[in-house]
Symmetry: C2
């Protein structure tokens, strides 16, 4: 068996050690005589897995006690509606910063539940940079300010934390959660689909400050109401138990490797290998402003796009898959989340060098 280097934007590559442990424990978890998949979510075995997963997430991210951690369903796209359903009722309006495809999805969805104001937009620059905070037009009566901390498609990432004063900052961190330390206390709410840095798809993590819970619009489904779920310890409905278990294994893996500071170092080193090569190449290019480049998703283009398919085919032959860019931007994209080893990035750059030498 040869494992591929999987550059998928999500669902994405997971640590091999996590997968091996999951395989070992599949039929009989810790002598319980059953798979985690078969456990009642209210049984003592799963309750322990659930509690340990939450506890490790709290420890890794330094989540203050005044925040709830909710394990939910529906992904970030579901949460794009669930966040305003729960939060926008406080004042009826919210500020959104538009930095690309994922921001656009979020703000479009929010308009169904209140008034949405675009505080800043990178659209004029084709979303190749994050608008500086000095350009943001924030409204004091907003229920919250929404950002996407890393645009998976465009490859721009916040390397600074916006200041929003008394207005809670809400971040879709789907594609960079756990990739580096974050000061959670600067946010009112953080949400993330698990399927990039945390585990399988089908699990959404919501980290929400206590005072923001309890303001849901009457049309909010109980399963997606933060108060209902917080009161029931995320078990108002049956949670996605197996996905929580895998996320738990991933969190332990991250802890064992030194936590989020170590992840950041690892991710910076990987991204540097790829960006350094892109910056000196006359054949490959990345359009993003240097200070806003994502450490997780690196879009790049070939000078001659008629060679795109040849490039992808050659990558596939070398065991490197899912390098095709999103249709919204074209070209290529390498997603290099926590679980991508630096060897994968080096192999990609080596291949790019050879390709450039042959076709450049």
């Amino acid at each position: 068996m040869t494992r591929v280097f999987n550059f998928s934007p999500g669902p994405a590559t997971l640590p091999e050690s996590v997968l091996r442990q999951a395989a070992d424990e599949m039929v009989d978890w810790h002598g319980s005589g059953m798979s985690v998949m078969e456990m009642s979510h209210r049984g003592k075995e799963f309750m322990a897995i659930h509690a340990e997963t939450e506890s490790n997430l709290r420890e890794l991210m330094g989540i203050p006690a005044s925040y709830k951690v909710l394990f939910m369903q529906g992904g970030a796209i579901g949460e794009n509606a669930i966040v305003p359903m729960n939060l926008i009722g406080r004042t009826g309006m919210a500020d959104y910063v538009n930095t690309g495809e994922w921001s656009k999805k979020s703000l479009k969805e929010a308009k169904n539940y209140g008034t949405v104001s675009i505080a800043a937009s990178g659209e004029a620059g084709n979303f190749t940079a994050i608008p500086r905070q000095s350009e943001w037009k924030l409204q004091a009566n907003a229920s919250y300010v929404h950002i996407c901390s890393n645009e998976t498609i465009g490859g721009v990432e916040y390397h600074w934390t916006p200041e929003t004063g008394a207005v809670p900052l809400v971040a879709d961190m789907s594609s960079n959660i756990l990739s580096r330390p974050v000061d959670v206390a600067k946010y009112g709410l953080i949400y993330a689909g698990a399927q990039k840095n945390m585990g399988p798809s089908g699990l959404t993590v919501v980290i929400v400050r206590d005072d923001l819970i309890g303001h849901a619009l009457p049309i909010t489904p109980s399963a997606f109401n933060y108060k209902t779920q917080a009161d029931a310890d995320s078990m108002y409905n049956t949670p996605p138990t197996y996905a929580i278990y895998i996320a738990g294994l991933v969190l332990k893996y991250v802890k064992e490797r030194g936590g989020l500071p170590a992840m950041e170092e690892h991710n910076r080193a990987k991204a540097k290998v790829l960006y350094d090569y892109l910056d000196q190449s006359s054949f490959f290019s990345n359009p993003v402003a240097r200070e806003d480049r994502s450490l997780m998703n690196v879009p790049f283009k070939l000078k001659d796009e008629s060679l795109d398919d040849t490039f992808l085919k050659g990558a596939q032959d070398r065991g490197m898959i899912q390098l095709k860019g999103h249709r919204a931007v074209g070209g290529m994209r390498a997603s290099i989340y926590n679980a991508m080893p630096i060897e994968g990035v080096r192999a990609l750059v080596q291949y790019m060098k050879e390709f450039e030498a042959q076709h450049g």
Copy 2:
């Protein structure tokens, strides 16, 4: 390793062969060099898994071509809101039949989106029988009539299909889907959380007739809008890929064992072993009307409830777990879904006999 007999109401026991295959394929699915968990949902490998799963569900249930199969998230409790969000806007009102705890949850949730009328209720009889159709008060202008085809907590099940004329029949089939043949054409919509007869929690299957798609209220989140999801082949947001894969393995298992007619025969035989014993016992009792007894969930009580804990402890010592009844009804409950072997039910009855001999 000894596998337990797991009588959990859900998440529930799964076929051991499915778990073994999942373990074998965990690190490298079919030579792809990756786990199913790591696959892009838009890659050819997962697209094939997804298509095969849908195709097998269609074949097993005989789903007509005029119905869409959607793989969604949020469970039946999520769907309790999502159904009215999508359907009640057609006329603004809906009929609900109240047969117990799960019906009550459904109708309470629906009230947020339109006018709900109780067509019939088993409450006066403490939900020990399904109200006969002759007692139902249906309204011609209802958007739909909602039933829960099997009450997981109370243990009552429809063994007949209601006639609702031109008004679409909607059924929460979470706890009896795939347990026996169903004439899908008699329903407008069927929904089910996967975690009883189909796979892991975190996956919700919705089977919906084409003409019922496209009537969603404006406040319906895109991720939960049947039209958005139907148009995107359930991939408007990232689906719960691993849960879909496991459901696919379960469906193949059901097919190999003779499909839904064979499941029904198997389930009837299991339920008979347990009900026959209960009916002749003077120590254990089941309160449900014989013609409405569930083949999936069998609640029962001890004559002396002070012995409940002793009974549960003894069962646990014999490798039989999760027999405690739901707090809403007390006593015991044996959930005996497709994957529970008849040996499990026989072992339970043998233990009950011994317990009765000792304490009766």
